[in-house]
């Protein structure tokens, strides 16, 4: 690193004030069981800043109306909020056009849309869908369903003991039979960051379309769908400080154009007669029914909030807290950490020997510490390591080293009770 680069890096770190960020999230001053809340469950769902709460409240107070279909002012305001969020989402992931952004209910909805609309159109007997062992159930089951419907076969690229996809085996599983590759950008259970650019390039070389599940990536770092060159990118609002029930499917324009509708209903049509229905244009063709307008307004505010933050500095802060957490938790006797990938984001999954994660979760909760315990919707990963559950501490931009100290003290209490 050159001296000037070092100075820039230092400036980037100091330009991020975690205590200022914490003040933006009202719930972080909540007390649970009489203790200050230490929220280490953001991979499950993140907390929401005041700006997001205000946007949703403002929508209901000043703009509540249905979108795209009325001539009155409120509908105009609602439509502007809704379409404004779509444009913000496009900028957020550097999509070429807002028309490439389909607003969904969330990541799961986006994957099911692609599986049923695109997958069902292109898959047949003898074809294959390739996923990895790291996938969340939502990036496994929709593919199992479409494979059952079409006679295609689901293949799974294995992972090594560190929790990284075995890239040589991934490459070996790719063939002209592979029609779709669906890979998580960041593992929700282990925190592994997959080298998706390389994986996309290899998949394209055999003619497969690639869906990237970015639910656990977008809260941590900037994503550029054009530079990744993926065909589909899906993520959820609620993991990136927005409300639940809203998500994004980015699709390559030529693919979205060719895909049949997923669900039928209002707003997705141009004209309806009993003989023939003309579908609306992309992306409306995929947005049947009145959507979660207030949620989309909140999602827009979440994007604006994230855009106001120096993301490189925020990531450096998060990485620092993760490294500190890994070090402190490793020092606890008889602890086993799962997921030691070289590149990780936001997740520390571990077990205390002789203590079931559920018992640990209850005791941690009693100390004000919120973690997730269980299989994290990723049963195959648990099976891979021969365990049934882990304790998962997951981080976001608002977590601090001091909170990790509280976690470690609470874990000592767990050990005390079960020793």
């Amino acid at each position: 690193m050159t001296p000037s680069a070092a100075t820039a890096a230092k400036d980037a770190r100091t330009s991020f004030d975690v205590h200022k960020v914490r003040r933006d999230f009202p719930i972080l001053s909540e007390r649970v069981h009489g203790k200050p809340l230490v929220y280490l469950d953001s991979a499950n769902t993140s907390q929401k800043p005041q700006a997001v709460l205000d946007a949703m409240d403002d929508y209901y107070r000043h703009a509540n109306a249905n979108i795209h279909r009325a001539t009155h002012l409120l509908s105009e305001r609602a439509t502007a909020l809704y379409e404004g969020a779509r444009a913000q989402a496009a900028t957020f992931v550097n999509a070429p056009d807002p028309k490439t952004i389909v607003l969904t209910k969330g990541t799961t909805d986006g994957i099911n849309l692609v599986a049923q609309s695109y997958g069902r159109s292109v898959l047949g007997k003898g074809d294959e869908v390739l996923i990895s062992w790291l996938e969340h159930h939502s990036n496994i089951v929709p593919w199992q369903l479409v494979c059952e419907q079409t006679g295609a076969r689901l293949r799974v690229a294995p992972i090594n003991d560190a929790g990284e996809v075995e890239l040589n085996q991934y490459a070996a599983l790719l063939s002209p039979r592979t029609k779709i590759v669906a890979i998580g950008h960041v593992s929700n259970a282990l925190g592994t960051i997959n080298p998706v650019s390389e994986m996309i390039e290899q998949a394209h070389a055999v003619g497969a379309a690639v869906l990237i599940d970015g639910a656990q990536a977008v809260p941590h770092f900037a994503v550029d769908v054009q530079s990744l060159d993926c065909d589909f990118y899906v993520f959820s609002s609620h993991k990136m400080f927005g409300p639940t029930g809203v998500g994004v499917l980015y699709g390559r324009p030529s693919l979205l154009e060719a895909m049949p509708p997923y669900q039928g209903g209002g707003d997705m049509i141009a004209s309806v007669t009993f003989e023939k229905t003309q579908y609306n244009v992309v992306p409306y063709k995929f947005e049947a029914g009145t959507p979660n307008i207030a949620g989309v307004a909140g999602f827009g505010a979440a994007i604006e909030y994230l855009s106001s933050i120096d993301r490189a500095a925020a990531l450096a802060h998060e990485d620092d807290v993760l490294a500190y957490a890994t070090e402190r938790v490793s020092e606890i006797p008889n602890v086993r950490i799962f997921g030691n990938a070289r590149r990780k984001a936001g997740v520390l999954s571990f077990l205390l020997e002789g203590v079931h994660p559920h018992d640990a979760g209850t005791i941690l909760d009693n100390e004000g510490v919120a973690v997730r315990t269980g299989q994290h919707c990723a049963q195959p990963i648990m099976d891979r390591f021969g365990i049934t559950a882990t304790i998962r501490a997951s981080l976001a931009i608002y977590n601090t080293r001091e909170e990790i100290d509280v976690l470690v003290r609470a874990l000592e209490r767990v050990r005390g009770l079960f020793s």
Binding site: T362, T373, F418
Partner: protein, 147 residues
């Protein structure tokens, strides 16, 4: 505020560490597998019924301290009793762990240590998994679930 020491009483910690009847029974008259999809815990329950009497009962599996202790205490509680008595005890136990914490419940002896779960609603399923599995085994269903 819910008190942890009500949940993790000495009896529970002891049964978690040294579960009673933690073994398999070869070709029992009744058996069932219990599963809690919330945490992935599994429990295999073996019941030997001779005439109308439960002459032996044992379990194996993975689980948290609450579910393991509950299974262990249950095997002690129903062994030597009739199937009808075990079913009745299931009902009484179920009532105890699902009654709101501010209301009085009957004393079930050792089993009452599990009444502490009432303060921790998400853990009620842990305490009742073994009992649901016993009920399923006696009804000859092969699988019980807390869902």
């Amino acid at each position: 505020m819910s008190d942890l020491s009500d949940l993790y009483q000495e009896v529970i910690l002891d049964h978690n560490k040294r579960p009673r009847n933690f073994r398999a029974i070869v070709s029992p008259t009744h058996r069932a597998e219990g599963y809690n999809p919330l945490c992935g815990d599994r429990l295999n329950l073996y019941v030997q019924v001779d005439g109308d009497v439960i002459t032996d009962v044992a379990f194996q599996g993975t689980g948290c301290a609450i579910s393991k202790a509950s299974a262990s205490l249950m095997t002690d509680a129903v062994k030597g009793h009739t199937v009808g008595e075990a079913r009745e005890l299931f009902e009484r136990f179920h009532h105890v762990v699902t009654t709101p914490p501010d209301q009085p419940v009957e004393d079930l002896g050792k089993l009452s240590v599990l009444a502490g779960v009432r303060e921790f609603p998400v853990r009620v399923k842990c305490a009742s998994l073994a009992w649901h599995t016993l009920k399923a085994a006696l009804e000859r269903e092969q699988r019980a679930s807390t869902e």
